[in-house]
Symmetry: D3
Subunit: 321 residues, 6 copies
């Protein structure tokens, strides 16, 4: 393992000129302005666990389509709880209900959102993406509808994410002023987007975020899903400006200035999937108070269990324990 | 490169017990019984070529959905022509109109079918698959809807293929008694399925066919798309019998006994993508007269340009030159 | 991914003639006959978790040397609890205290043993192996002292494991009649060894066990730590019989007939690290009642979260819920 | 896939100081000054094609040695035709006569030159290189005789290429004022050399050209035949200046200023075989009018079928359609 | 590392039916019947060594062409010495004169033959192969002229080897009754061929021999030069019987019954370059007394320095120390 | 193969600011100040060689622990000889006694030191490292005790090396004023350390030295043992400054200014294991007269046999032949 992107000093200095679409705000306002409620339903699940109670969640996401998830609450908890809303890494579905026990074990409400259409290799998913599958999609999600911001997959996924954050704030066991969004990789990118588009969020904790600074990421990332864009453009020669225009609408580094909540980032310097420079691009542009934990010798796994403790301590400090 | 499957002698002796669903015929009859015409339309294309004239084709495929393709005719050809209907390898779209010039240069009508939703890495595609994208699909097409024969992607693709063969027979420049189906890999598997399901086809020329003998293929194939099924079952543990039941409806080795047209197969002994034993399973069960060219030292590329000449000679003999 | 070992049918029939050292029982009696108590100490740890209480454990292991671990108890639990004693996979240390929350969340006491000297790549460790490092050791543990059963690393590790099981039985919160040993890979091999050498264990749940049927494993395993033995013998030519003799003393398939507790195995058919035939060798020879869950399309990850539920259900049935 | 060479902006600015041997012109004048005619012979071939007529060609190449090729003419063509002379990529032989049908299908004469001694992996060859095989050659052609410009393989191959261009101009069906040289990779380097050394050529269309800017290419290319030089110098330490001196005589970037015909280049920015900076070195130094199509997300495959259309349009514009 | 060929028990039983060409003896008699002397010349070399004296050797090889080598004699040796004639592994040239010091340090004359045309990657060479380079040769030597026994490269190399053994017997410092041939891989195959074709040799010591049992080797070898034949036949489809006929003339397993001198083989069971079954094919058919050292856990490196001591002890026993 | 570090021009300019621990001299003085003699013993070995006599050596190394080696003397040598003390590359043990014959064949005494605990893959070892094995060590030696300079493995290994150089000077057959230290990779790093810490050494010949400029090496090296440090820090997050502090005590580039003997370096520009910039860091800081041979196209193998001749010539010049 070795550095494959900028050094740490270069990352601190890296400030790319990202193109912000003129109608960015209008695009998202139009997409998110929905009077319909999130229609969250909660079905109890028997996981066999005694210390944590779990519900299968359904929320009306983009287009009113059903998006699933899990809600964990600590057994015997009383009073409104702070809530961690977690978005998942690329490819991962919500998995089995007993897979992620940290936040509820620590006394938090924990809401996990399934990523529509995803759910292979790492964890099963349960949410379909009921939209036509365009020709030319590179297997995966990063080029699904990439020729138009309207049809692009990530428009739908970000909308789902905003609505899950809203569902969390409306849940009776949750304190609506202490809803935090977090996630690793794709989940980190979604956290940033929600922090920018959803004013009621109390904090964001994006880890090794994906979906940042596409123009550089597609040229630099030596592995992982950014390569889907390169593979697409290798075949569909001449669509480059159209594709990067679409991507700019969902680019978390483009959206980041709109955020105001405090944020704790983590970035890994030997990350070949989400190159550190692209994560720093989002960090530098982030609109709220911010801190970053840099993991100098890690690849895309980042801070793992070590960073969970950083997050827990940071939240305890933010909210008062 | 080395053998990674059975030896040639073992392949000649390999006769697997494939499970044939009781309602196989009913399933396909129900699927294909459509009174609606194929509604083929032909739009001329300016390719810049002088020796071949080309049309962009649209056919009403499964569910009446538009499926595209190309039709090439030799310039100055007169009278009804024999026609080669070609289905494409996995991942490939119909490409640019001037990419495949062999059959028209040899005096044949040549009809190429786009594979719905496909079209990456090797050649662009233009045909969407306007169906919901279920959760849990391994990127690619082999597990899209694999939990049910009704929803499975290959049900739709095989139906498209049958209807393209029918469109060929109805084209005024084509001699309906000399319509041949062919293709490499996925195209080979589709050729076998069409030969089995579409009585009017005059001959089939499947090359290193995919979609054959799934139960063995999924365990043996060291690379390529069969691995999508293994990856799916690795995560969705316990769905094995359900998945293999779905696959049996589109397994070209299961369908092969229903074919009656003469066939020229090609099989490669060092093929790690479509293991030779699985191709021989289809060959042995094929219902019509048959020959096979075995390429002992080739991987999945098979006979390439060399085999094109074998096919041309075989067709000239079959039809009289 | 593809099969790289025997098929499932062949595995059911595979019964190797394993050489059992004449003094096997005497060797282990001599090794384990220690009058000294296990001297377990328990130091509370502040993990930040509210639903689970955790202690850092120290047990006097082989040679009275301090071996560390974690003990998790469900908060508010009362009365003696069933206890799951977990041994770790190769290379992994006990990690951070909040990494494994499943069993305590499910109402069990959960005792995790650090593996002496290990703790890299996947999870940190805290236990030294205070013994001389012989020349010629292939980096790793599988050849450390392999020229003599007395000096071999796994003699020490198995002894540690036996003493952790004993410590569990002696803990005041634990019901000594419901102590279960489990683990994945190396942890699975250790579970088998403890079940064979430690009569008070109530059940064993070995997953994709390592340390089984060395003579075959070293020839067949295409990846993973068995290769350390092959690498050693490639350089130290002529030590083959001496090395396999040492290995036979710690071979879980050799020890397995001595077990009497009921067992739930898991075995993965595409496991290239711990080939399924070698796991079946242990299964077939296992002395107690036994069941096995076979994962046909998994590599060494085996059943993962899916299998945790199988284990929980099996334990609930065994102990009555 | 990612950038592994300079960025596009850096490539536009990259102007290496290439060492031009003092006797470069004399060397090539001496090599090419042959009064003997090219002695082209044309033997008709029955390819089975109806739209294209094909001849097997033999030309007296370097040393009067027989070099083979194919000539394709569109059936029924009348009057002198523009002619595309194509040189082949490294390793490829002329192949079977029906493999390359684009230019003749488009109404051009198409002359393909076999590369002496080559013809493996991609397409068979038929032309021997009847010269002694020196000790120390790294398998392949890039170090065959590399210790002396006189004996170097590429001196012979470039000479063959010049004489094929001359043969095209002398063919009765060809318009001598509309002979174009082209080729991919090695064929692109040969096109540049012929454009520089053969004044009668009407245009050059080099694609992702090989044989350019050896001093940088040997240090930067991560894959492909430039590595043969590195491998040679790794063993024959101390021959570095001698070897690079030889290479400078056939370096297409060194020769490029001598060209006067208009040229259409293609360069791929993620090309790890022929790094884009080395292609730009030739482009910047090229003596005639020039354009370049840059493929930003392609590896060494470059523009493929997409670029064929660019070339056809460019030629139609150049020659008037 | 793992077994990739037959097990040891299977190798002991493996007796392939190799096709022996009817005119095999006549072919070699015609090839080797040369009245001309070997014309060995010996030029002293200043290596800087004090304990060993070295000469650069030239012998008239096949066609009277000059083949080089080294002769080492122990300083201060007196009286006729036993001589080890060593042939080199594939790709390796004679190297620098001080690279191989074992046999002369042990008191033997040591004659090393350069392999014509070879000399890359591992050690430089100095001997050209002054023959035309046919089209279609896969880079390397295994298909150079493979369409005809007369033109095949290995006909020339074996002839060189026979003549070097003769030169050794004629050298004044050498005892002609104690000339031994040896070599690793290609050198092992040549040792077997010389033992079969050159009656005066006192012993043969082939190590992990190449050039044995081509029909199986080409199908089974997962790496190394046998793959050149597979690659050739993958492109030149239909030449299979012609090529294997040529190979049978130089197949060391075909020639082995003709040998009468005692032999010490070494074979490695995890050898993926020269699969053990193919070496055993030669061993079983070898005509003289024979022993074999089997290295069960080695790949193609075989016994290395360990086996040198086995050879030294075996020679001391054979010749009396 | 391609450059993966700085270019040669950049390497000549590269002068890193290395942190020198304040107590560096005190640390080494304390470590090395031992009044006890080296207690070298020499046991004759029967290698079967006639030109070289060999002894198995034992020296009291760090902590008085027995460290083994070989001593070779040219047979019949008289008078005090110059002596080459060789330290070994990472992982390699002293091997069999007849493996390294060059220096004794050239008339030098040759003392080879076993590396404690090492001896796998390339050559067996015979020296144990009788120290506790701390938890968390990445397999290998680079992180063994890396949390403290006192406990770090390389403190012990460097001490052994200093004492072997002293043993050489005390041997009756050796001229104490002509003792040279050398070695490849790890052996090169040890040579530099000994030259800096052991005043009586006459010259140093470090080849592609390891253990140089750790802060850069750990970030840049794409393969090899520097990666152990990166892997350690990836898991033990937050120990970075502590670990690099320990490494600075044994960093050969940190120690190099203390050397006064003349030195001949070799550095390879395509070395991905010991990146050339890190070797140049040591070269630039080296305190004595110095020369360097740069191998521009070699990876970590460096100059090999070619460089042995450079070394021999350099020593002959230094000492007078």
């Amino acid at each position: 393992m070795a550095l494959s992107d900028l050094t740490l000093a270069e990352c601190w200095a890296y400030r790319p000129d990202l193109v912000v679409p003129e109608d960015l705000d209008a695009f998202w306002e139009r997409t998110l302005r929905v009077d319909a409620p999130v229609e969250a339903t909660y079905e109890p699940v028997d996981t066999g666990l005694t210390q944590i109670r779990t519900w299968s969640v359904t929320v009306a996401g983009y287009g009113g389509e059903q998006v699933h998830g899990w809600l964990h609450l600590p057994t015997n908890a009383t009073g409104p709880l702070p809530c961690v809303v977690e978005y998942l890494g690329y490819g991962r579905g919500r998995g089995l209900p007993h897979e992620k026990l940290f936040w509820a074990s620590a006394g938090f409400a924990h809401l996990i959102m399934d990523s529509r259409g995803q759910g292979w290799s790492a964890a099963p998913g349960d949410t379909a993406d009921p939209h036509r599958y365009p020709a030319g999609t590179v297997p995966g999600f990063l080029t699904r509808g990439v020729t138009s911001p309207e049809d692009f997959y990530y428009r739908r996924l970000i909308t789902d994410a905003v609505r899950f954050a809203q569902a969390a704030r409306e849940h009776p066991a949750v304190d609506p002023d202490r809803v935090v969004v977090t996630g690793i990789s794709q989940g980190g990118g979604l956290s940033l987007a929600v922090a920018a588009l959803s004013p009621g969020v109390a904090a964001a904790m994006p880890d090794v975020p994906f979906l940042c600074d596409f123009p550089r990421a597609v040229q630099v990332a030596g592995q992982g899903p950014y390569g889907e864009v390169a593979e697409y453009l290798a075949l569909y020669r001449g669509q480059s400006s159209q594709v990067f225009r679409t991507l700019s609408y969902v680019d978390a580094a483009v959206l980041a200035p709109g955020a105001t909540a405090p944020a704790l980032f983590s970035i890994a310097m030997m990350d070949a999937t989400c190159p550190p420079s692209t994560c720093f691009a989002a960090y530098h542009r982030y609109g709220g108070d911010k801190e970053v934990r840099v993991y100098e010798f890690n690849d895309h796994e980042g801070g793992e269990a070590h960073h969970q403790l950083e997050q827990l301590a940071w939240l305890h400090k933010l909210f008062g324990r």
